[in-house]
Symmetry: C2
Subunit: 327 residues, 2 copies
Amino acid sequence: MSNFEMIQAAAKRLDGKAVKTPLLSSPFIDDIAGRPVFVKAECLQHTGSFKFRGAWSAISALSTADRNRGIIAFSSGNHAQGVALAAQKHGVPSVIIMPSDAPIVKIENTKALGAEVVLYDRATEDRDSVAARINKDRGLTLVKPFDNAYVIAGQGTCGLEIAQQAADVGVTDADVLVCCGGGGLTSGIALALEQTAPDFTVRPCEPVGFDDVTRSLVSGKIESNKQLTGSLCDAIITPSPGEMTFPILKRLCGGGITLTDDECLHAMALAFDRLKIVIEPGGAVGLAAALFHGDALNSETTIAVTTGGNVDAAVFKMALDKFGSKN
Amino acid sequence: MSNFEMIQAAAKRLDGKAVKTPLLSSPFIDDIAGRPVFVKAECLQHTGSFKFRGAWSAISALSTADRNRGIIAFSSGNHAQGVALAAQKHGVPSVIIMPSDAPIVKIENTKALGAEVVLYDRATEDRDSVAARINKDRGLTLVKPFDNAYVIAGQGTCGLEIAQQAADVGVTDADVLVCCGGGGLTSGIALALEQTAPDFTVRPCEPVGFDDVTRSLVSGKIESNKQLTGSLCDAIITPSPGEMTFPILKRLCGGGITLTDDECLHAMALAFDRLKIVIEPGGAVGLAAALFHGDALNSETTIAVTTGGNVDAAVFKMALDKFGSKN
């Protein structure tokens, strides 16, 4: 199967299982951006992020024997919850390896979704060794967060929906702004749009200082981030683009755009006020680019994918305090 | 045309113009409610409430001559913004009469959506006289918030979507919990479901102490609220059910359910945490009933309509502070 056929097959497996997230808009957002902006509200996906799509795609493609043995994944965040719920709904056992210093609420959520959570100490243990020890006799299938063809195909189903929804509102020319970590969602959307909306340009969006994809696209080879902590956009910070995702990004994407934490908080407050959706800082970079970096965009219309909404109340209140409208 | 044919006709006029709002769910919400809960996220509608549907329906049904003269409406809140945007998109002039003590941000929003805003002093002026003075030579068409057949038909399109989306997820038996003020949305949904999902029961939900509809359904005649202020759920407080809406509610709805402000704030915090949507207190009564009043429900499944999201940051933060999960 071609990449595109894999996305179409994933869409069939996801039909009725994933949320067909809406394409939202507001004249107030358009006014700030200076052009029409549509928001693909993927924060409304099950478990609050697009990760459920890729997880469902990967698990639903397993053989019966592999399903019976179960799956394993590493994650401190959105991938953990997406995998746990997709596994639970398939009746497939799941083991999620999480750092012991992950927020307790995320650990509890992952357990509540039926996963066996194994904690490891980031300072003294190597997570691959932890996984190898657990998996010695169990034959669990590893579900990687982005460098997995089924995961990329699952994320690509978001791109199929964007193409259809954009056509429904008459959009024929757009920059599609995608919050980008390892590049699973960005590459999946780019592959879907290559066939369904070839005039659209996918633009990866990243936090300032964690712009591995942007720099990789400039240099033409995989670049890494110098640090992995220190941004509010923790959900989309990865060491570097993936071995599978980067060639796709390189072939299909326009240049990256980088955003400050404050721009993301501002976008979160505007999304609260004008779109009535909850987005996390890492899920706001695309919308922030649409709002505040119009000079970097080339198309008449902008489509921003708000990729996740798993934000602590404290951070959300910070966004409202700094950038919310006053009454 | 029958009521149902009017809803079908409104759906055609609204196609591609209103948001087909998603039906959301979360295993965490189901767990608290003790049964499956689906949330019709109507807070994601244009201008942040269902009011846009009725406004679009009414304005799109006007003759060319009436459109050219324009429309007039009274509202301090969601109806104002829904009417203003629907009029603007039709190129129809709109006059919105608002109390001079309405929040400045709501007045500014309504103006920004192209309406001519006329303020009146609630203490010293009668709004009908104000309207009559303005409308003396202009022949504007009054768009009432609920006692208007086209408005009810427009709100009913939300019910058509609920029936289709419930069928898509295999729901055949449900209590449909609707936040109820004058009864436009509740009666519209009830008329739509009467034909498309006759086994569903629509249940009006109201704030404790402002339960005019609940009491009217018990007594069989229109009852009024003793007071009109003093609830966080201001968006859904009206003196009494409408002359047009009440007979429909009486014929088709199950008993009303009443909710406290704290139950609504709790539902808002859970919607933030688990569904990633922003709802206002008055838009949360239906979800609060699903979460905390399961003993009043008779069906296997609950569908709660979250009708609006136009909430001040201060009230939203209060909900998170009182009922948000701690990290």
